[in-house]
Amino acid sequence: MKTERRVIPIKVEARSTLTPQDDAAVRTVINKMQDMPGALLPILHGVQDALGYVPKDAIPVIAQALNLSRAEVHGVVSFYHWYRQEKPGEHVIHLCRAEACQSRGAVALEAHAKAKLGVDFHGTSSDGRYTLEPAYCLGNCALSPAVMIDGELYGRVSPQRFDTLLEKTAEEAAS
């Protein structure tokens, strides 16, 4: 009787999809920081600051430089809420969900923002303009609800003020 020959597939690692520019940016960050004690978080911040996110294909490069396994680097990237593995929109909006903001209408603001942008948390609007992220306190609890857009803090953000802030980012982009 003829037996089926079993073929064990060998997975070939897909080629890195990093563009040469992105690859160079990642390596620049690594070269600058890899000798710091506990360098992984600073490197990930550096990469995200440069590219807006930590691309999947940056992980093997970082792992090799720090003599870590990819799994270890991936574990760190995925543990921390701040690191993003997808390219964000042009503007990143952090909306505070925590108690002091809830006491002044954050729940309604959250619903408004999601409806306005047509996204859930971690999503990017279909025009690629805005990424919406939750935050758990922005340290502006006396002037709640609070929102941070591209690192700028805003207080007493009503739904109307939220819309005004969006318009402002659009105007700045146009000018």
Partner: protein, 522 residues
């Protein structure tokens, strides 16, 4: 004569338009040919009045607020540079009751100085504590901190001096490295005192950490700062660079032979990294998972070395102790809660901001005398003290004095001194559910009661509110809370039962299911 005008660079002030106001001030002064020096100070802490503009008249500062850019022309028209009358005038800043009735030790310089100017800092009593410390033996510094009664302001209220003493006496291995780590993760909702120190008076933290280094024999320090605070990051880095330039940091500090290096490291949006062992893991470049204790960080901390780890406010309270003496600090407060606490009034409160008071002040004084009642004008129903793991306190306990022991005895927590105010529209079942949800999102995953229990908690509350065997669900929720309380590795899972159970115990009516409510109404 040049007039000095102050307008804060504090992030809260910026969040309501301080930069636009500053620009308008400069433009209008130029247009009118008024010789003005505009100083970007830090906030005085009257956050509901931000942006607060101050002007110096005959050496006395007069305040106006809230000043938006469009108010600037009318301010000049009212001759505010000479303290002129205006609807936004608040009078001499130091006479405003909100400030006058405080006891500011740690926040003594808040709003007075240009935060990153070392000369300003020194002119306002800065670096006196370090100067004294440099002339003392490390053990004497530790003794002063012990005698002051200073306890950790990050939440656990452990005596700072005992930690320092442990590090001073800790045996060292290898190259003998010890560390000072500042916990600047300030994750609790309703808290911003750490942020205000770091943005508004960064040198006081730098000075406190330098003193800690000398006392414990540590030559390296890290500030672990949450990444939600980019303004604090910039202020700290600027101040640190200035301190290096003037030899208040680095090798042979002020010719004393002492060495202390300091660096800011950014967190990455994980609440659990405020827990000290998780923070140390994170600083080492790992996932922020909680470590088993013992060993305590004072013996085996960062990279396995003896480490002093303290909260921002704890460390920022050290300079005044070394400057004015342990006795001076200790004379404030009640019982075993010595000194002052920077309290943060947040949420639905009319006069939100920073109130530094000696321990012993009651919630009622804070909420009504300082806070002026709710912002919405509705009755205050409850306050949450001590962050997302703190209990919800009902009105019947508003006369509780601020005191670690008195709070603990009544099932509450002082924590980092944040007070979040809710009016009578709050749904306490939603707040309890949120507490469990928050724990599920932020759990580090190492222990089961916290990792699984929090998700089960959300489900049980949902079933309870849906009217699915509500009596049984309540028993289950209480049982679950007990398991989390007793079985969690750290206070995240271990304390989330506090907000949940306090909501359930004080406001059971909010937990009635829709069918129950309908029945009660008919």
């Amino acid at each position: 004569m040049t007039t000095t005008i102050y307008i804060p660079r504090d992030a809260a002030a910026l969040s309501v338009g301080a930069d636009d106001t500053a620009k308008a001030l400069a433009a209008e002064a130029q247009r009118l040919g008024v010789a003005a020096r505009i100083v970007r100070n830090s906030s005085r802490g009257m956050l509901w009045l931000e942006p607060v503009v101050e002007v110096e008249v005959n050496g006395k500062r007069h305040a106006y607020g809230p000043v938006q850019a469009e108010d600037v022309a009318s301010l000049f028209a009212a001759d505010f540079v000479n303290g002129g009358a205006h609807p936004l005038a608040l009078g001499p800043t130091d006479d405003i009751p909100y400030l006058k009735n405080q006891e500011r030790l740690t926040f003594a310089r808040a709003g007075l100085t240009d935060p990153v100017s070392i000369d300003d800092y020194i002119a306002h009593d800065g670096y006196k504590g370090l100067t004294n410390a440099l002339a003392m033996a490390p053990a004497a510094i530790v003794e002063a901190v012990l005698d002051s009664g200073l306890r950790g302001r990050g939440g656990a209220a452990f005596p700072a001096g005992i930690k320092w003493k442990t590090v001073l006496n800790a045996p060292v291995e290898g190259d003998g490295q010890k560390y000072v780590v500042c916990n600047a993760d300030e994750g609790d909702s309703g808290t911003f005192a750490d942020r205000m120190i770091m943005e508004g008076d960064p040198f006081v933290l730098i000075e406190g950490m330098t003193i800690a280094g000398i006392a414990g024999g540590a030559t390296r320090g890290y500030i672990y700062l949450r990444c939600e605070y980019p303004h604090a990051q910039r202020a700290l880095n600027e101040a640190i660079a200035n301190a290096y330039a003037r030899n208040y940091l680095g090798a042979n500090i002020l010719g004393s032979g002492k060495h202390f290096d300091l660096e800011v490291r950014m967190g990455a949006g994980a609440y659990i990294c405020g827990e000290e062992t998780s923070l140390l893991e994170s600083l080492e470049g790992k996932r922020g998972q909680v470590r088993f204790k013992p060993p305590v960080p004072a013996l085996k901390g960062l990279f396995g070395c003896p480490t002093i780890i303290n909260n921002v406010v704890t460390l920022a309270s050290v300079p005044v102790i070394l400057d004015k003496g342990a006795e001076h600090y200790k004379n404030f407060g009640v019982g075993r809660s010595r000194g002052t606490l920077p309290i943060q009034l947040a949420g639905n409160i009319k006069h939100g901001g920073l109130v530094e008071k000696a321990f012993g002040v009651t919630l009622r004084e804070l909420l009504y005398d300082f806070g002026g009642g709710s912002a919405s004008g509705r009755p205050i129903r409850t306050v949450q003290v001590g962050g997302p793991l703190g209990a919800y306190i009902p009105e019947s306990q508003f006369d509780l004095p601020l005191d670690y022991e008195a709070y603990a005895k009544s099932g509450n927590m002082v924590g980092h001194g944040g007070i979040v105010v809710f009016d009578d529209t709050v749904d306490m079942a939603a707040m309890a559910r949120y507490a469990m949800e928050f724990c599920a999102i932020e759990s580090c995953g190492k222990c089961t009661p916290c990792r699984i229990g929090s998700t089960r908690g959300v489900e049980v509350i949902d079933r309870m509110l849906a009217g699915d065997l509500p009596v049984k669900q309540e028993a289950l929720l209480r049982d679950l809370c007990e398991t989390m309380l007793a079985g969690s590795l750290c206070a995240l899972g271990g304390m989330v039962p506090y907000p949940v159970l306090s909501a359930l115990n004080h406001f059971p009516e909010d937990f009635q299911s829709q069918p129950q409510r309908a029945r009660a109404a008919s």
